[in-house]
């Protein structure tokens, strides 16, 4: 029997635009860039609002609630120790339909994930970052 440890998450390079997204979990906060003029959420983070052309765009905490936009249940062990099946998903923020986050759905069996399922953020610490994951709001 293999005792290979599970592969660690491949973490992102951090820059001035994405730092708050990947570190907000320390304080339990999911933050998304938002226009200070018209209120539009901009993701991935860009210090420019494509709706009103304002440069007053800055990170702001959101509710952490979202819906499953699409998902897949992975069954292939791509690396030694990788536990499968697991769910890769795209979720849309409750605040705005066109903000999608890539994530893993946790806290329920992989075959329990459905389209439009309501989910909420949880954070997994990894080195100096906090990786946002999502779990069902209500157990299916």
């Amino acid at each position: 029997m293999s005792h290979q440890s599970a592969p660690r998450r491949v973490l992102p390079l951090i820059d001035g635009d994405n730092r708050t997204f990947w570190t907000g979990g320390e304080h339990g906060r999911l933050t998304i860039y938002r226009c200070g003029e018209c209120g539009y959420y901009v993701h991935p983070p860009v210090p420019f609002c494509p709706k009103c052309e304002s440069r007053k765009v800055a990170p702001e905490p959101v509710s952490g609630r979202a819906r499953v936009f699409s998902f897949t249940v992975n069954h292939k062990a791509w690396l030694p120790g990788l536990e499968e099946p697991y769910v890769l998903a795209l979720v849309t923020l409750a605040e705005q339909d066109d903000v999608r986050l890539v994530t893993n759905i946790v806290g329920c069996p992989p075959d329990g994930v459905t389209f439009d399922m309501e989910v909420e953020v949880v954070f997994e610490p990894a080195e100096d970052l906090w990786v946002p994951l999502f779990r069902p709001v209500k157990a299916p």
């Binding site: 992102p12 699409s70 249940v73 992975n74 292939k76 795209l90 066109d98 986050l101």
Partner: protein, 394 residues
Amino acid sequence: MSRYSEKDTAIVGIGMSEVSRGASKSALALTVDAALEAITDAGLTRADIDGLATWPGEHANGSGFSAVGCATLQDALRLEVNWYAGGGEAPGQYGAVFNAIGAIAAGLCRNVLIFRTMYEATARKTGFANALMKPGQRQGGPFAWYAPYHTYAAALQQALMFNLYVEKSGIRPEQVAQVPINQRRNASLNPKAVYRTPITLDDYLASPIIATPLRLYDCDVPCDGAVAIVVSRMDVARTLPNPPVRIEAVGSSMRYRNSWAQLDAFDTQAQPKVAKMMWSRTDLTTKDVDIAQLYDGFTFHTLNWLENFGFCERYGAKDFIAGGTRIALEGELPVNTGGGALSGGRLHAYGAVHEACTQLWGRGGARQVKGEPSVCATSTAGGPLAGCMLLVRD
């Protein structure tokens, strides 16, 4: 003077190396084989080649995704060119062709050698290899949004799109299966195809799930191989031995969010506006198309292209391909006539353009489509990438 510069260009020669699940020679040797064959087929010599292009440029990282770039091939063949380009930020793999059209229109060159080299079969025998990331290293760029979530292959990103398409279209696995079954049948008639033993519906349904709803037989086959084509200015093309395969129209736009996560056409991929652009540049319509070489990195791409080119309506691919007769070699729209990437090997759209010319020049042998096909629609790429061309034999 034509209004659209692609109409002043044509494919005049093609070449393909051995294609395998483990090459007998180096990636560069495969590339040289394909390049020399294409130049000879065009009735040209090395000295006539004055432009050089590839996509996505050399990735010297052991992944095999693009093992040879312009500089390496230029030196290997000691070409003397007026213009060259290789880069991935383009409308999919055909970006190299679109660049060449621009270079010819700008008067920079007349005969462009365009090539694509894959060495993924060998790369995967020697270790974990993918085109996306290296585990253990922090990830920059757009893929950094996917990397932390155990996204170890493009198959996972594509499965997200495929699953939404299944949800919206209601297509069933036994319907999807017609794409790989048809292509394996075509591959059985193609001596160069990697996998040539026909498969059945039961084989498809029994193939392992990679990431729902994607099965193994929905995925193209990593291979070692190289393809080259020569694209020439039309006045030159008309002096050469092969009937020019004119580039009648191209689709190269980027009018969606260019993102694997935020793409605002998720279940159709970035194809509808690209196809619309292509049709806006020609008087021809879907009714004029004799054959189609549609991108098939995954079966779902081919389904999408059938719809987005307009061969059938949105979510109508499942009915269009029902029973497999319409897309067969004898059907009204033969699709991926050489077996495509699913069975022929992942030559990444350049296998498709090679097969298009093979059919348009009547060289298809046992798999030749009857009736001297003269118009081919061909397309490339999935997700936020898309590019397409309409090819017409003079």
